[in-house]
Every structure is written in structure tokens, then in C-alpha cells.
Symmetry: C2
Subunit: 302 residues, 2 copies
């Protein structure tokens, strides 16, 4: 039992979903919580609920004009500064400031889903002790929880959850876009309740049952499909790689199967793939992402 002492209190938490309009798991959960917030109430902080992109949800698309989850103060030149999602991002920030007493929420949990076999995964953009301890707390209590670390120190990708250093995106899968899988919806709700339970005890400085260490899968690089001259994939994720997210990929393992029957083998160092065969990434040039597996000791964080 590890006491959590002297930490910053969390007063305002945001649970958002439908940031991508075709990811129904989160969108329908926040719709439910907007009408019945009972399950989200805790004793020592406020939880706010947001359906992030209702226009994209209405047409069951990831976004209307640009990815809302790359629109929160992103760095770099914007191709379409008038896009619906950029003004939606500004509107969301204004509303959050008003709800959270002139500040951004202390912690944000943004609910996503993926066609990849990511289980109950958390996408970290930093190594905040709060997030690492919460990862440990969740791994003690739920099966199939893993965290992917996507630090981008040089540029800001503009994620909704980057408005706060505490919290993360929750990516559950595999599930098709535009579909509710009841089992995954229930598990996602339980995971959110687990995050809120953690915060309640965090605010109280109560001791937690935590593992000694947690694995963290740190971004190394994206791997694209082989492509035909027209830019479309010339191969598929190999059946032996499909669904093997967070499992070690070794030199010589098959990664792609061409429509002509050719198998491509992994030539790189041993790494851990994530987001294998995510629908939204076909157009982004990502067949899967490879990560390095770190082991983070929790006792040093407290």
C-alpha cells in the first residue's frame, strides 16, 4: 500500500466522447451520462461531461472538416483556419474555462475507439506521475489495460486531452466505427469509473494498492503499407500480425501479405506494435506503429 501524499488536488475532471464522431463507444456513453450523471459523481471533485463533436456524430464521420482531435492549439500552419472543428475547439475551451472556474480541467479523459485490438488502452502524451500511478491503479483492477506513450516535445499535435497534463485518451478496441459493442461499452464505463475512484482517493491522500512497476509502450515510428502507384495499399496486415497489439514483434516475423501472395517480413529490431490495422490511419500512411517497451517503477514517483 503506497500513500499518495502532498499531491495537487484535482477539482474539475472532464470526461469527453465523440471527439471522433464515428467512434460510438465514447459518444453514446457521454450521451447517456449527459442525461444521467449518477455514476460519475464522487465526493471531492466535479465531473463535467462533453459530447465533443456533435456535428460529426450526427453524420457518423470522424470529422466534418478537419480532425477535432488535432485542433486544440496545434503547432504549425493550419491549412484551413476557418474549419468547423477549429471554431468548435475554441468554443469547447471557452465553455471549459467557464465551468472550471477560469481554468482548464485538472484532468481530462477523452473516450475513443479503434478497429485495432488495443483492448483497454490509454494514450499518454507525457510521463506525469499522476498518469503513471493511475495506470498502475487500473492495471491492478482491470484486465487488458496498457498505455502507449506518444510524447512529441517538438510539436503540439492538438489533442483535446492535451488541454490538461493529467488524464489521457482511452482507446478501446477492436470495434468497427459506427457500431456499439455492448461488452466494450460496459468495460469502458467501468474503466472511467476506475479513473474517478482513483482521483477520489488521490485527493484524500489515501494509500493505494499499486504494482511495483508498469510497462509503458513508447512511440518509436510509424510503419506504412507497401503502396501501389495510385497511393493505395498494395498489401494487407499479415494474419499473423493482426490482433497482436502490445505483443513483441521480432526480426523475421511476417507483417504484410500482398494481394499477389507475397509476404513481407519485419527487418527491424525487436519492438512492440500498436494500432495495427486502424481504419482511420489508412489515409495517414500508418499500417501500425512500433514502440519500445519501458518498465517504469512506481515507488520513485510518490
Amino acid at each position: 500500500m503506497t500513500p499518495l501524499l502532498n499531491q495537487t488536488q484535482v477539482r474539475h475532471v472532464l470526461v469527453s466522447g465523440g471527439t471522433h464522431g464515428n467512434e460510438y463507444t465514447g459518444a453514446f456513453l457521454v450521451r447517456h451520462w449527459l442525461s444521467d450523471q449518477g455514476g460519475l459523481e464522487r465526493s471531492n471533485f466535479s465531473t463535467h461531461v462533453l459530447l465533443s463533436n456533435p456535428e460529426a456524430f450526427k453524420i457518423c464521420c470522424r470529422y466534418v472538416e478537419r480532425d477535432l482531435n488535432r485542433s486544440f492549439n496545434p503547432s504549425g500552419v493550419l491549412a484551413n483556419p476557418e474549419a468547423l472543428e477549429l471554431s468548435r475547439a475554441t468554443q469547447i475551451q471557452r465553455e471549459l474555462l467557464s465551468k472550471c472556474g477560469g481554468q482548464m480541467p485538472d484532468a481530462i479523459f477523452d473516450l475513443h475507439s479503434t478497429t485495432a485490438n488495443m483492448g483497454l488502452s490509454l494514450v499518454f502524451t507525457n510521463r506525469e506521475p499522476f498518469n503513471l500511478l493511475l495506470l498502475g491503479y487500473l492495471r491492478e483492477r482491470f484486465e487488458n489495460v496498457n498505455a502507449y506513450l506518444w510524447e512529441e516535445p517538438e510539436s503540439k499535435p492538438g489533442f483535446l486531452n492535451s488541454l490538461s497534463t493529467k488524464g489521457f485518451a482511452i482507446e478501446v478496441g477492436p470495434v468497427a466505427n459506427g457500431v456499439l459493442n455492448a461488452d466494450l461499452v460496459l468495460k469502458t464505463a467501468q474503466l472511467v469509473f476506475g479513473c474517478l475512484d482513483f482521483i477520489e482517493t488521490w485527493n484524500r491522500g489515501e494509500p493505494q494498492a499499486l504494482p511495483e512497476a508498469v510497462p509503458l509502450y513508447k512511440f518509436v515510428r510509424h510503419i506504412d503499407y507497401p503502396r501501389t502507384v495510385d497511393g493505395l495499399p498494395a498489401a494487407m496486415i499479415h494474419p499473423q500480425l493482426q490482433n497482436r497489439d502490445f505483443q513483441e514483434l521480432k526480426k523475421g516475423d511476417p507483417i504484410f501479405l500482398g494481394f499477389d501472395g507475397t509476404t513481407t517480413h519485419w527487418q527491424g529490431e525487436n519492438l512492440w506494435p500498436v494500432f495495427i490495422n486502424e481504419a482511420a490511419y489508412y489515409e495517414k500512411g500508418i499500417a501500425f506503429t512500433v514502440t519500445q517497451r519501458l518498465e517504469i517503477e512506481l515507488k520513485n514517483l510518490i
Copy 2:
């Protein structure tokens, strides 16, 4: 071994895919076969290959302006007679007439995919002996082949494969839209090869190893989700119904799970559900479709 004698010869076969632009299994298979038709060649008929809706495929959507697979001479008043898909349907028919010597193809296999656990399923619009015998032929050679019969004598739905009485839509699943699952792609290709092998022997009048009878799942009615006042689903497919396509649904079995935890139980007669939790049917008011299981003896057909 049952001899197939005195039947009409099949001279022109169409294999089409991408009729729905986000169903990648068929779209990518026909793209491959358009560049390498080797696997489709047989000795006594011609096979033509079609990417049906390239505009919808380009944007990874089911359709651009209206469902192309409801646009081939549909009955009833058309809401949007100028829609891109209606002129595409006319263009496809003109091209087919020109390729097939002034007639429609003798048989059409239109490749679809579904988020439902339909396995390798065939969607029949009639009870042509050719189709029933081919069903028997495939069931002798492949696992997980079932046929759903959707006869609509009063109205013409306007399916592409309705241009011919021989052939059917092939619906493989479960797979997310906009995703290639290599295992299902390979199985779909093998199933198409099986259909072509059957036709080769059919044209020769060769005896076939066939089962005595085949099951046929005949449309009874569509079942919609409970809905909230804004028209969106108020419940999900129950985890105990999910993935149980072609399995008997009995009175009292759970069918829906509400976001408030309420379970809805099946009150109707014992029937067999299909297309459970298909993404494209959320907006069509279909949570699943119930069918009656018929047993069709093949020996009477020859």
C-alpha cells in the same frame, strides 16, 4: 454424385466489388483482379470484373449521393433522380451489355462485407435451382457458408446482382468498414473461385458432390433498436445476442441492453437472426433481421 444436366449454359459472369465504397474486402479484391485476372480464368465462360462505385471507394464511404446497391431499376418514386449513383447504375448496365454480347451477365457475384458475424454468407433474392445447387456445392467445400433469402416479390430493391437471376451478393464478416482483414479477404477469394469452379462443371453437365439438402434463412422481418426521442438507439445489441447470426433466437433470450442497464428479452416466436449489429443499418432502423430456417432438398432441383 448428382449429375447436372440440361441446364442453361453460363457464358458471362460478373464479379463486382466496391458497390459500397467502404467495404474494402470486395473493393481491393476486384482492384487486384482488374490488374491480374489469372485466378478468375476458367475454360468455358468469360469472367468480367467491376469496381462498381469508384467515387465512393475514393472517399471510403458507403455511397456518395445514394446507395448504388438500391439503384439498379428500383421500383417506386426516386427521391433524387439526378444522384451520381443512378447514372453510375445506368453506365454499368450499358457497359455490361457491351461486354456480354448485348445481354446482362448470366451470373453476378457482388462482393460485400459486414460488421455482423455473418461468416461467408450469400444473400439470395430468389430460389433459382442454380443458386441452391451452388449453395450446396459451397457448403460441401467451405466452413461457415450460409444463405439468407430476401425475396421481395412486390417491389424491386434495385441490387446490382438482381440484373441476373443467377448469382448473389456475398456478405463476409465481421469486419470494420474501411479495413482489410487478410484472413477474410483470402476466404472471400477462395469462395469466388469456388463459385467459378462450380460454373465450369455446371456448363459441362458434370456430376457434383452435393449435400442432400441445404438450409435457407428466409426473411421474416426487421427488428429496430429501442430509440430515444431524438431517434438514436437507446440500447445496444445484448452481449448474449452479439455474434450469434444464423443461431436460433428463442422466446425470452436477451436482445438489447439499455444504457441504463435494462435488458430487453425476445418476445416473438423462435427465429434465426442475421445481420446483427451491422453499422450501415443503424440509420435504416435495423438492429437485426429475423429469418425462418427452411430446409431445401436438392435432389428435386436437378
